[in-house]
């Protein structure tokens, strides 16, 4: 896979170069942002095809925005995460057609266990559990615990206060614990 040749350039700077027609900047920015956008979309939706659609839509919006991008107002990644979150929320509402707080039955992962894919089973179990959370809790937990962002960064993306972020992640983790409590043994996690 091609590598980012603008290591030290900020996303903002690259976006300006992109708007000025610099093809190398277009390449660097795409290589840098696509994995972030896709990873977040996938964790929000739990489906690669849907995540690709959302990532594509979010990036197209960014490219269209490049010419009128107002530098210093918001970080490119912050803006993108907001767009991805909104697109994911729209899709989840359309596809589920149920209340976001509804807790579905845990998926039977006997097949994964039978195949000996412990790692896959664990990741799937976590994704299932994430899918039981309300959107905002899910987003906060993903950003904090999987994508490793700080609370201030998450607060900016979600346009809420830091205390609200802490509350969302705490409630989200409690929800995950509840959803996964009965699956520790089958996922190969020992209390000893």
């Amino acid at each position: 896979m091609p590598r980012d040749t603008f290591h030290d350039a900020s996303d903002d700077a690259l976006l300006i170069l992109y708007a000025n027609g610099d093809t190398e900047a277009a390449r660097a920015l795409t290589l840098r942002l696509t994995p972030k956008v896709f990873g977040h979309a996938y964790r929000m939706l739990g489906d690669r095809a849907e995540a690709e659609d959302v990532s594509q839509e979010a990036l197209i919006r960014l490219w269209k925005q490049a010419k009128v991008w107002r530098q210093g107002e918001a970080k490119v990644t912050t803006w993108l995460y907001r767009v991805v979150a909104n697109l994911c929320t729209d899709r989840l509402r359309k596809t589920k057609g149920v209340a976001l707080d509804a807790v579905p039955e845990p998926e039977d992962n006997a097949l994964s266990a039978a195949e000996g894919m412990q790692h896959k089973a664990r990741v799937d179990a976590l994704q299932d559990a994430l899918n039981t959370l309300p959107d905002r809790q899910k987003q906060a937990v993903i950003l904090r615990h999987i994508e490793g962002m700080t609370n201030p960064e998450i607060a900016e993306i979600m346009e809420i206060g830091i205390e609200a972020v802490e509350s969302l992640t705490a409630r989200g983790k409690r929800g995950l614990a509840k959803a996964l409590a009965g699956r520790k043994d089958e996922l190969g996690y020992s209390d000893d």
Binding site: G21, R27, T30, L31, P35, Y42, R122, I146, G148
Partner: protein
Amino acid sequence: MTDKDKMDGFLEDLFAEAQTDADAQVSDDFMARMLAEAEAYQPAALEPVATPQRSLSRALFDTLGGWQGASGLVAATMASVWVGFAGAESLSIDGLQAVLSGDFEFYLLDVGTEFSFELEEG
């Protein structure tokens, strides 16, 4: 270790595994499509404005101020030529000879008394 600590440890392990989940990584095919799309949506680069080549005479003409400047210069030149020819008959050859021979005394004495300088005092 409390049950909560154990659950937290379990969740932390799952989060760590999720970070390396291959399904959350971009495929080469999708990345290639995104790279192509980024270029497709990219605004065209601004073409540098070509500087027109100018001849030396054109550059000189422009330096003089174009038609207005050149016309003024031609008019002034013609006027000075006319003045030169028209005034030629009234020129005194004596004055020129005096300057060339360095006979300044003659020249100064020739000036009318009402215009003479008080050189002695200087």
